[in-house]
């Protein structure tokens, strides 16, 4: 399987209380479990079933995902912070893997 690589856009610094947008993209087949292979057998489901954005340990956004989310899941959201810190991202795969990345955001 191709290496799973997240791609995240978040500002390097924001004003306290200023709303900013975060964009996240990760390559993942999001195999729905509906497709059939050449032999007519259903290809087993394997998707990212949960996405989390956590700032300094506090959940910001949690998304429970179903197979209807497109391949290479894209999630965009907005938030605001009052102190500097780390915005951590986690993608949970059906197979138990968790893909992670994080961005530091300063107040300035």
């Amino acid at each position: 399987m191709a290496k799973i690589k997240p791609r995240v856009k978040a500002p390097k610094s924001v004003a306290a209380g200023e709303v900013f947008t975060v964009k996240t993209l990760i390559n993942h087949k999001m195999e729905s479990g509906q497709r059939k292979d050449k032999a007519g057998e259903k290809i087993p489901r394997q998707i990212i079933n949960k996405f989390e954005a956590i700032f300094n340990g506090t959940p910001v956004l949690t998304a429970d995902l179903d197979p209807a989310i497109s391949t290479n899941p894209f999630i965009e959201f907005s938030m605001k912070i009052s102190e500097a810190g780390d915005l951590a991202f986690k993608w949970h795969d059906d197979d138990g893997s968790v893909y992670e990345t994080s961005k530091s955001i300063a107040i300035g």
Binding site: K3, R7, K9, N27, S70, N72
Partner: protein, 282 residues
């Protein structure tokens, strides 16, 4: 005769209304990452059968167009990131990475705009895939990549990105003239059960709906293209193959001389448009 006219008109109305709702119109402009304007239309080169050139971007819906406007919305960019890593990862018996000979990816700036081109050493027309695989096999001692596999399309996307905004300018004379003529012939030859040539759609009918699809000029300046249809980057030859299958013709093989010739001819029809880095298409 009266029956035919009325239903044709109605069909036309249906097509127009679907078309109108589905696209952003040919007037929209593309600005990437809020700062890089990418011209999506150009004057046709001299002798071109087209009155004006339009990038495939112009024919897509507003939502699809928006996906290309930000490198964090553009799913093709994930594969560029992967290729960036592969660029500096040693592979093969020589224990080298691309970086060892080529430095940073930006050493490739301008290259995509001139592809495909004549490789004097090899004595033949080379596409980007040919160059990449030659380096892999000859210089790295690594296995060649599949023409349209994820690794190859990621790398051609990374290299295309280095030429984003550069004006397409492929040579059609000199040693490539023969291939150019061959490609031109293929372009205008009807094939397949549906007995259609590339020109029937992309020259005679661009801008029109073909069932639910908005026909483009079939330009290649945006390739490799992230297609919504298969949620991955697509090579030029893979797209040619798909088009041929759609008209129920037996497709040439990816990496074949026929497709190389066709790639050259089609690229030359886009001389004047600019490289878009990985594009987003239907």
């Amino acid at each position: 005769m009266k029956t035919l006219t009325k239903s044709t008109l109605m069909g036309g109305f249906l097509a127009l209304s679907l078309g109108f709702a589905a696209t952003a119109g040919e007037d929209s402009t593309l600005v990437v990452n809020g700062e890089t304007p990418i011209p999506v239309r150009a004057a046709a080169p001299e002798g071109s059968p087209l009155p004006e050139l339009f990038s495939g971007w112009v024919f897509r819906s507003v939502e699809t167009q928006a996906m290309q406007a930000d490198d964090f919305d553009n799913p093709g960019m994930i594969f560029v990131d992967q290729a960036w890593e592969a660029w500096s990862t040693p592979e093969g018996s020589a224990g080298k990475s691309c970086a060892d000979c080529h430095g940073e990816p930006d050493s490739m700036a301008g290259l995509r705009a001139t592809m495909p081109k004549w490789n004097a050493e090899a004595g033949k027309l080379y596409t980007l895939e040919d160059y990449i695989n030659e380096s892999r096999v000859k210089h790295m001692g690594a296995e060649p990549w599949k023409w349209s596999g994820a690794q190859m399309t990621g790398m051609t996307a990374l290299i295309s990105l280095q030429s984003r905004g550069a004006t397409i300018n492929v040579k059609t004379d000199g040693p490539v003239a023969e291939m150019y003529e061959k490609g031109k012939e293929i372009y205008y030859t009807r094939v397949g059960q549906l007995d259609m040539a590339c020109s029937n759609c992309h020259e005679d009918n661009y801008g029109v709906m073909i069932r639910a699809d908005h026909l483009s000029q079939g330009q290649t300046n945006g390739f490799p293209a992230y297609r919504l249809k298969n949620a991955k980057l697509n090579s030029i030859h893979a797209r040619f193959k798909g088009c041929m299958k759609n008209i129920r013709a037996r497709p040439y093989k990816e990496g074949s001389d026929e497709f190389r010739a066709l790639e050259l001819y089609v690229a030359s029809r886009g001389n004047g448009l600019v490289v878009e880095g990985p594009s987003v298409r239907n």
